[in-house]
Symmetry: C2
Subunit: 270 residues, 2 copies
């Protein structure tokens, strides 16, 4: 497989840097080809602004969605964004690696998403009709590819448990896994999350590294999170609400969009 | 009241710009004093990096949490960050205004949080003992102040409904409302969210503006979201799991941390 690893930590001599190297070595040992986007080393520009759209006249009002669409359609996105899009099209699997800062990704990685996930590429794709609402959530430009997160967190795992005060880690990562990765079509693998990293010592590192190696060895075969495909019948069109009767009757929130029972016909997704 | 509005849209001639001006005018008409941090106009630096900590030697390894703590303790945070912290201490109420990009805030605003919410200021505050786990989630440096979000979204409101495909808007905003604002102590008001903004025309604007004016008129009196206070008895220490018996037995996810039934003694929080 071809794997793109997007790395978002400011310090190469960090736990994140060490885990990144472990992941790359294991992927390569398995015969995979790896490319890395090291956002800090690249001095990645985070802010979507007027300079992203050279075809706008200097005084022209910036409407981000419209400008993104026009630039993608006409091939006038900036070079740094085009290079990242080319990498995403090249890769069979995408890994986003980052420390959890304020319960989500660091700004520099959000800026990579905001700028690279252009209209016409990652959203605004496909027909809107009475049967389907665009190619998204399981369909889209990146369908057939796999994605996963590697995340480090300072807090205790229990604080991120189903009843933990921070909220469940799967729910905290849902806006990324479902909203950013599943949206343009990726099959999203369960994340690799390390907790309490501030207390980690040398003896604690090796078991972690081995856990990560195992995930890298199985990157092509690990079953993805069974999110419900938007256009496979589970949702009403155009309200895009989950059909009555689907999901645990008492359930609410993000968990409704994971089809643990397998009610969607996944064979048709293959 | 003193109000700080942090604004994160690249185009002043946008719906966001118009709503910002409506909010400021109404707040001032009510006798409030308003300051604005217009992050794009300020060319806010988003990435936490080595340059944020001038007391590190050039080759010194950057450990973000430790560096943030040392810089806050010794007063060596960068000037731009110190100015924002001073504004937060000055303000009785904080408003974060932004377009929802990929289901959360734009990178430039995340970078404001990542850099301004320093260790010792917004986290790492208070004692850790068998009774309490730091001053956070309802306690902390910013306790007694109010905060709210003003958010614009391109999608339909139904897609963000309790069973909508994007996930419920309250859950999507939970990592911000609970994880970023409630964490350092703010009382968090329900957000003001506008949907389907790409389709908004002139006749649609005035009712929206009036809704926002009403929220600004009541900013001092609107009841906050009743998140559970961490150290008021609802959570076990040190696991910080919600006590058995609290919350709807069938419920899961973020909703557990909202105390709709009022089981926490809120009188003691006043």
């Amino acid at each position: 497989m071809k794997v793109l690893l997007v790395f978002a930590h400011p310090e190469p001599r960090s736990l994140n840097g060490a885990l990144r190297d472990v992941a790359i070595r294991e992927l390569e040992a398995q015969g995979h080809e790896v490319r890395v986007s090291d956002l800090y080393a690249m001095r990645w520009k985070s802010a979507v602004d007027h300079a992203d759209f050279p075809s706008l006249t200097p005084d022209e009002r910036l409407i981000p969605v419209a400008a993104s669409k026009a630039a993608f359609d006409t091939g006038t996105l900036t070079e740094d964004v085009k290079v990242e899009i080319e990498k995403l099209l090249w890769a069979d699997a995408l890994i986003l690696q980052f420390p959890l800062w304020w319960f989500t990704m660091p700004a520099i990685l959000k800026g990579w998403v905001d700028r690279v996930f252009a209209y016409g590429f990652a959203y605004g794709v496909g027909e809107h009709s009475d049967r389907r609402w665009g190619d998204r959530y399981g369909e889209g430009t990146l369908a057939g590819k796999r994605a996963m997160l590697i995340v480090t967190a300072g807090g205790w795992e229990e604080h991120y448990a189903p009843r933990g005060v921070n909220g469940p880690i799967d729910d905290l990562l849902f806006p990324i896994n479902h909203g950013i990765l599943y949206y343009p079509g990726y099959d999203v693998l369960p994340p690799f999350v390390v907790f309490r990293v501030d207390r980690l010592d040398e003896t604690g590192f090796e078991p972690l590294a081995e856990g990560l190696r195992e995930r890298m060895r199985t990157i092509a075969t690990t079953p993805p999170i069974p999110y419900r495909r938007q256009n496979a019948g589970d949702y009403l069109v155009p309200s895009m609400k989950l059909r009555p009767g689907l999901g645990d009757p008492g359930a609410s929130g993000f968990a409704l969009h994971v089809d643990d029972a397998g009610t969607t016909d996944r064979a048709s997704a293959a």
